[in-house]
Amino acid sequence: MSVLEIKNLVVQVEEQKIFNRISFGVDERETVLIVGSHGYYNGILLNTIGGFFEPAEGKVTFEGIDIYSKTEEELIALRKKVSVVFQEGVFLANLSVLENLLLPVKFYRKKFIHSKVIKEIKDYCEFFEVPPVLQKRPAFISYTSKKLLSFIRALITHPEMIILNKPLFNLDIRNQKRVIHVLKEMKSQGKTLVISSNSFDVIKALADRVIYLEKNDIKKIMNREDKDFIQQVKQLDILSDLIGVEDEI
């Protein structure tokens, strides 16, 4: 059963209608990769799935609930299950990095063991080799650190589903491998992953299904069960890395 379902989606940006009534579903424990010729459309699609961009037509349902028919309060229970990681690693500028990381955890769990969460954060920071910036303001940290820390923020909430926009973008090879490693672990734990990425490494390591967006329409859907899945993927001329780190993952 699809945990996330997109039905006849049309999004309007200013006067322009985007997406030609596209439909697809994401099953529980499935990893779906959205690859596209234009990051612009992928970004809008993820923002719509994430509940930030109300569609002009069609529906986005999560566990059967139309997310745009509910108020923010009614969506809190759903939000706790889904973490969204933005491409650019967004932080609240007037909080320290640590306060930013703790914000969703504090909100979700009225009683939480502070030291346990801090340990989890420190372990992830060590794993990703994030410099000691937890007490700093987000303005002082690098783009790469922001990206990794926003990923860590999503991980410590232990979501059932994670939505990621270009998780490897702007990361060095070492951290790309680490991110893929963590995502593989999440996948093995039965989490649902929705990822927008044109990286062959990510597709090869994780994808159960690839949805190929050509401009504003779904051009092709490829399944891991397909005999020639990897060959089909390789034929896409929009991949960012055909010869990459996949053999080492």
Binding site: E72, L78, R79, F86, F91, L92, L103, K106, F107
Partner: protein
């Protein structure tokens, strides 16, 4: 016909904006009563707002109030003393400073410092995707950002108006002692004799209503920013101008109502 068309469109936009603001106001006021449920994350924002709006504006408020209070007593003594009506300066101090100027001048300072800051901050947060980030956590931007700022500005505005009044009275006494030596307890007795409970109620109501208007308008305009950084200063100017107009309208209505009732 085109002129009528554009007038009609302009009118429709204004009405829509008013309806939108009204709904925003209702949403904020409703969430004020459930703020305690989210105090764990919103409390720090509230404290920071009170600190910025209230505490950091204090020196300016006190400076202004000391001067205004002093000058009113000085001018009042000079003019009314000539007619043998020196007692009336206390009436003027109460009517002009306590009832009117304290809340109006405090509101203008709060608009200039905090209203513009709130509008700019929320506008930039929208541009930087921070509002969507909060929504992704399931944290309502209204509860986390607006309600805490709303309560912060209202509390700070109320406290600042009290400080303004105290400083204005002390300023009045200080200035009067320079030219006409007067005992502080005598000055205070005279002042309190002319100060009625209604005067206190009026400045309390005004300070709370002005605080609410400034906070609501500034937050609303800040959150109206959509995509471009150039919108931020435009919205900030709009927030300041609309707040000033709203404060003056509210002041007039409250004053008239008190004279009627």
């Amino acid at each position: 016909m085109k002129i009528f068309g554009s007038i009609g469109l302009g009118l429709r936009t204004r009405i829509n904006n008013l309806i939108e603001f009204y709904l925003f106001m209702i949403q904020v006021l409703r969430k004020v009563f459930t703020f305690h449920k989210q105090k764990q994350i919103g409390f720090i924002v509230l404290l920071r707002q009170i600190m910025f709006t209230g505490y950091e504006a204090l020196p300016l408020i006190i400076f202004l109030a000391l001067s205004i209070g002093g000058l009113i007593i000085l001018e009042g003594n000079y003019i009314l003393g000539g007619f043998g009506q020196g007692q009336l300066v206390y009436v003027i101090l109460v009517t002009v400073v306590i009832r009117e100027l304290s809340s109006i001048l405090t509101a203008l300072i709060v608009i200039a410092r905090s209203g513009t800051a709130i509008s700019t901050e929320l506008g930039n947060m929208t541009i930087n995707n921070e509002i969507n980030l909060l929504r992704s956590f399931g944290i309502s931007p209204i509860s986390y950002l607006v309600v805490s700022r709303f309560i912060g500005v209202v509390v700070a505005m109320f406290l600042l108006t009290i400080y303004f009044n105290l400083a204005a009275v002390i300023g009045g006494w200080l200035f009067s002692t320079i030219f006409y030596p007067i005992n502080f307890s005598f000055f205070m007795n005279q002042f309190l004799y002319h100060l009625s409970f209604t005067d206190i109620i009026i400045f309390v109501i005004k300070s709370i209503v002005f605080g609410m208007a400034i906070a609501l308008i500034s937050c609303y305009q800040g959150l109206k920013v959509t995509a471009a950084t150039t919108e931020v200063p435009q919205r900030t100017i709009k927030a300041a101008v609309t707040s000033v107009i709203a404060v003056i309208i509210c002041d007039t209505i409250i004053t008239i109502l008190f004279y009627i009732l």
